[in-house]
């Protein structure tokens, strides 16, 4: 059985049915039309692979019909059938897009041969069209990919330089151009060694020209900035080196954080080891019996050692709080916390501490004070640190006032004291871990320098900020501003 659909357009019923019979026996699908208008109607219904057109039709002629068909997007192979065949008509017909010319009368074999040939051509044409479409699509995709790669590389924060196998620059993204202080047209197709030569980047130029490995990574300094430079060779499917990509990532911030961490750990070790050394020294005196065999003279020293151990425990607790304040754990979401109850607890404790030195603690909360959006434990820690400091660094008979009010959409909690104040030069260091202002007034007061660091982190974690105003010898005011 053969496959294919054929439309017969002929005004003679006998011719149409004859052809139909032959073709249907071969297994083709067949449609027929008696004139041009009917043919166009039939083509609206469905597509045909082959159209057999009579040259003479009642309403038009075969060639005109063919033009109309083509204009309407008909892609059928066309065979012109005519009894008035002559060479001129044949040439004209072929020029106008007729694929075959079948003179009447013709035998069934002629017809079958023509139809089979046209169907083969049709198939070949369809396949060619498909291939061309595919090729065009892939070219389009390639162009698109190239553009995408280019925009991707351009949008990278890292500086990227791509060289071909000869070491000439084929792509430099904007950060790289900034680094090289050159324009796009100044770098393209120029040797990378020349562009990178001379300064701190020279070793990279050499490596780009002749890399020891397919992938090298090194650190380098450029002015104030530190960079991680990586050079990667890219190869084609055959393993041939096609070029190399240089990427420079700015690691200054990472390095600064690492150094800060290093400093923090160094200070922390000092803060942990110092009390241990003192405790060890105090106990050594006891075991050495430096003060004789009687126990009494040692009691104050043992009490000191005991106290130092308590302080160490507090230090470790604060270090843990500090570490915890750096990350947000699940189930620790901020809540709307009424300020007054938390403050009452904090103030009660502060009053007990202040009472021995005659320091009074008062609160002035606005009547319509909204709740604070913060983790309840954090609010307690912030307030107890600030109020605790205000009592600790106060003068005998001084006062502490805690105020709460709404200001410009912020909930402002203010802790004001009449204490020793802070030197202006030291105000910025106040929030640093382990920092304590060393003055005659503070020498006798204990502390590990972590309280305000904790306060700062907790307030910032809640989306708030801190303000401090202080006059040495007169007092300080710490303000916490939380989103209301």
């Amino acid at each position: 059985m053969s496959e294919g659909s054929i439309l017969i357009v002929d005004d003679e019923y006998g011719v149409r049915s004859g052809i139909r019979t032959i073709l249907e026996m071969d297994g083709y699908e067949v449609g027929e039309a008696g004139d041009g208008a009917a043919a166009l109607e039939a083509l609206k219904e469905r597509d045909y692979d082959v159209a057999l057109l009579d040259y003479r039709l009642p309403d038009t002629d075969g060639l005109s019909l063919l033009q109309t068909m083509k204009q309407r997007g008909c892609e059928a192979m066309v065979c012109m059938i005519t009894a008035y065949a002559n060479i001129d008509t044949a040439i004209a017909a072929t020029r106008q897009g007729v694929d075959f010319f079948l003179p009447k009368p013709f035998s069934p074999d002629d017809l079958e041969g023509v139809v089979a040939t046209l169907l083969r051509h049709k198939l070949a044409r369809t396949e060619a069209d498909r291939l061309r479409a595919e090729h065009e699509a892939s070219l389009l995709a390639l162009a698109e990919e190239k553009t995408q790669t280019h925009s991707l590389v351009s949008s990278l924060r890292d500086a990227v330089l791509v060289v071909n196998r000869d070491g000439d620059v084929v792509l430099a993204n904007p950060p790289m151009l900034d680094l090289l202080e050159r324009g796009d047209d100044e770098v393209l197709m120029r040797p990378a060694t020349e562009l990178l030569g001379g300064g701190a980047l020279a070793p990279l130029g050499e490596q780009l020209a002749a890399p020891a490995k397919d992938r090298t990574v090194r650190q380098l300094e450029l002015g104030e900035q530190a960079y991680m430079a990586s050079i990667v060779t890219f190869r084609d499917e055959a393993g041939e080196a096609r070029g190399r990509i240089l990427t420079l990532s700015d690691i200054s911030e990472v390095r600064r954080l690492a150094m800060e961490k290093q400093k923090f750990i160094r200070t922390m070790v000092h803060e942990l080891k110092s009390p241990l050394g003192s405790i060890k020294g105090l106990l050594e005196v006891v075991t050495d019996k430096s003060l004789g065999g009687d126990l009494d003279p040692y009691i104050p020293m043992i009490a000191r050692a005991d106290h130092r151990i308590d302080n160490l425990a507090l230090l470790i607790r604060d270090l843990l709080t500090l570490a915890r304040s750096e990350q947000t754990q699940e189930g620790e979401e901020p809540e709307l916390v009424p300020v007054a109850p938390v403050l009452d607890g904090v103030v009660e404790l502060a009053r007990e501490h202040g009472a021995q030195r005659g320091v009074t603690v008062t609160t002035e909360l606005a009547g319509d004070l909204p709740p604070a959006l913060i983790r309840p434990d954090d609010l307690q820690l912030v307030l107890s640190n600030l109020v605790g400091n205000a009592v600790k660094y106060n003068r005998d008979g001084g006062s502490v006032t805690v105020r709460g009010a709404i200001e410009d959409g912020w909930l402002r909690l203010e802790v004001a004291d009449t204490g020793i104040g802070i030197r202006e030069a030291n105000l910025t260091r106040l929030w640093d871990e382990f920092y304590r202002e060393t003055r005659d007034e503070t020498r006798e007061l204990e502390g590990n320098g972590l309280g305000l660091s904790i306060v700062k982190r907790l307030v910032e974690r809640a989306g708030g900020r801190l303000e401090v105003a202080s006059i040495e010898g007169e007092g300080s005011t710490f303000s916490v501003l939380l989103p209301a």
Binding site: P275, D288, L291, R308
Partner: protein
């Protein structure tokens, strides 16, 4: 025969440390002076010429010990006194600190480093070895 007690100066901002070393060494016949800050140390040194000085490296500033060492070292009357630096961070900072220490040691004329915590026993051994008559 009259013998003058050997005088030792400790400079450290940790009062308990000073106290324990004082008691430990006084029990062994030493005269012990203490200072809680570099300034207090310089004040003490105006009237005193100890046989050895122990300095804490990290006091108010991380390098107070070095600075004080330099001040003492360049002083004509005090320059000969052995200086022993006490530090809790020498080990932790490792090579970097030691690498710098060569120059710094010369600059501040340090005789020796001791890693904290330092026992009375260690201090005693260093005094017996280094203290000038």
């Amino acid at each position: 025969m009259m013998t003058t007690a050997t005088t030792v100066l400790f400079v450290d901002d940790d009062r308990d440390f000073l106290e324990s070393k004082k008691v430990y060494l006084e029990a062994r016949g030493y005269r012990v002076l203490t200072a809680e800050s570099p300034d207090a140390a310089m004040a003490t040194l105006e009237d005193e010429t100890p046989a050895i000085i122990f300095l804490d490296l990290m006091m108010e500033h991380v390098d107070d010990g070095f600075r004080l060492g330099y001040r003492i070292g360049k002083d004509e009357r005090l320059g000969h006194i052995p200086l022993v630096m006490l530090s809790g961070v020498a080990a932790e900072t490792g090579t970097r600190f030691d690498g710098e220490a060569g120059g710094l040691r010369e600059w501040s004329r340090l005789t020796r480093f001791l890693d904290k915590p330092v026992t009375g026993q260690q201090v005693l051994a260093v005094i017996e070895e280094l203290a000038v008559a």
